[in-house]
Amino acid sequence: MPGFFKNKVFWSGVMALVATLILINMTSSERENITLLERILRDTYAPLQSRVTEMRDYLSGPRSIFIQKQELSERIAELEEEIARLNLSNQILRENEEEIKRLRSIINFRDNNLDKYELLAARVIARSPNNWFQSIIIDKGSIDGIEKNMPVITSKGLVGRVGSISQHTAQVNLITDREIAVGATLQRSRETSGVVEGMVEGNLLKMINIPYYASVKPNDIVITSGLSEVFPKGIDIGVIYQVTEEPNGLLLSATVVPTVNFSKLEEVMVITDFWPVSEETEAELPALAEE
């Protein structure tokens, strides 16, 4: 028998390894609550991380003063042009919104518009310290009414959902994380209900489960389908970049460029009052419409 089998250090190592593997297994699925130790660690870091973020914002202020005047003038002109264009499209959208409201009231359809939700603004104070998990820490926690699985967005689109929460902070798992899957549909064709998931590294997404006959092409906008029960319907996720055929030939997959720039996230909004439509209610909707 080899000598190391009699070695106490060897057996301590084996026991530590087994205990750690059990711990990995226990924490691999979503947990309702984080442990006291994790909470203390997170809340200890939070004020320090907030200071660094504030300092960074403060230091980036003077730098912007030195931006060329001409560059600023060009940017103002561009923005004015964009405002004029957006004003016009706003008028059309307002009209459409009123029409939709009228039609929905006729068929007793559940209002799913984003503007009806309560939004809580939060600052990003830290990011995941490694490349394996894509998450951010925000400066709002259980004390501010944040709960697990609340959707997180910006004005550009979907960011992710709340994972673990401490008293003053919350960890938001980004949609680029490989553990997050979002029910998605294509805004143009509406015929596809796929799933968008994070890729292992980088800031790209992958849309899977697209039937081979689906009309999908680059630059199509991908939005939430509302079927994942965590995210409201109609939030922008990204834009199709490339479509590829899966080896089985029955399905397509697509690389999606997110509308949100995750490496430059500074502020986000948490939807605090989204209650997903249950499957039973969803099933009743066509019947209600017919009535």
Partner: protein, 167 residues
């Protein structure tokens, strides 16, 4: 004092990675400062102590992340053990030795994490993005390793980081 600094180093590393380096990542890839410290520690203090230190540092990172707790602890303990074993027969005062150990340690750590991820998360797969991420981190870690190893080695010989009983 040296124990306190060794205790605070991984806390500082996680703090820097989640803030400063988070804002200055290379194409979304962060360095692994905790790993760099673990490797520096292992080269100077040997495989046994390196394994324990790697385990504790990895566990701290896991507790902060809150998911798959223990995955980084095992990966960093194993990396600490192997780099601690390999240091025998090399001139440890040479920065190139430190940088090479960090380079090999980064690849080893990624390989262990990959194996553990495959066990814990069966649908995990390697793609171009994954390889690219490891390579960026490899480069980032080497850049940080040269000055950090030089500082660590000097401090552990004649400075604040010298462990009691070390020659």
């Amino acid at each position: 004092m040296c124990y306190l600094i060794h205790f605070l180093l991984p806390f500082l590393a996680v703090f820097l990675q989640s803030t400063v380096f988070g804002f200055y990542s290379i194409k979304g890839t962060l360095p692994d400062l905790v790993l760099v410290f673990v490797i520096c520690f292992s080269i100077v203090n040997g495989a046994g102590k390196g394994t324990v230190y790697g385990f504790l540092c990895g566990m701290l990172e896991d507790l902060y992340l809150g998911r798959f707790i223990g995955i980084n602890a095992i990966a960093k303990a194993l990396t600490g053990y192997i780099t601690g074993r390999l240091q025998k027969g090399f001139f440890r005062e040479n920065i190139i030795v430190g940088a090479t150990a960090v380079a090999l340690g980064t690849l080893l750590n990624a390989a262990v994490l990959l194996v553990l991820s495959r066990i814990a998360f069966p649908s995990f797969h390697i793609d171009e993005q994954f390889v690219q991420g490891v390579l960026y981190q490899f480069a980032y870690n080497i850049i940080l390793a040269a000055p950090l190893y030089g500082w660590y080695y000097r401090s552990s010989r004649i400075g604040l980081l010298k462990l009691p009983g070390e020659k």
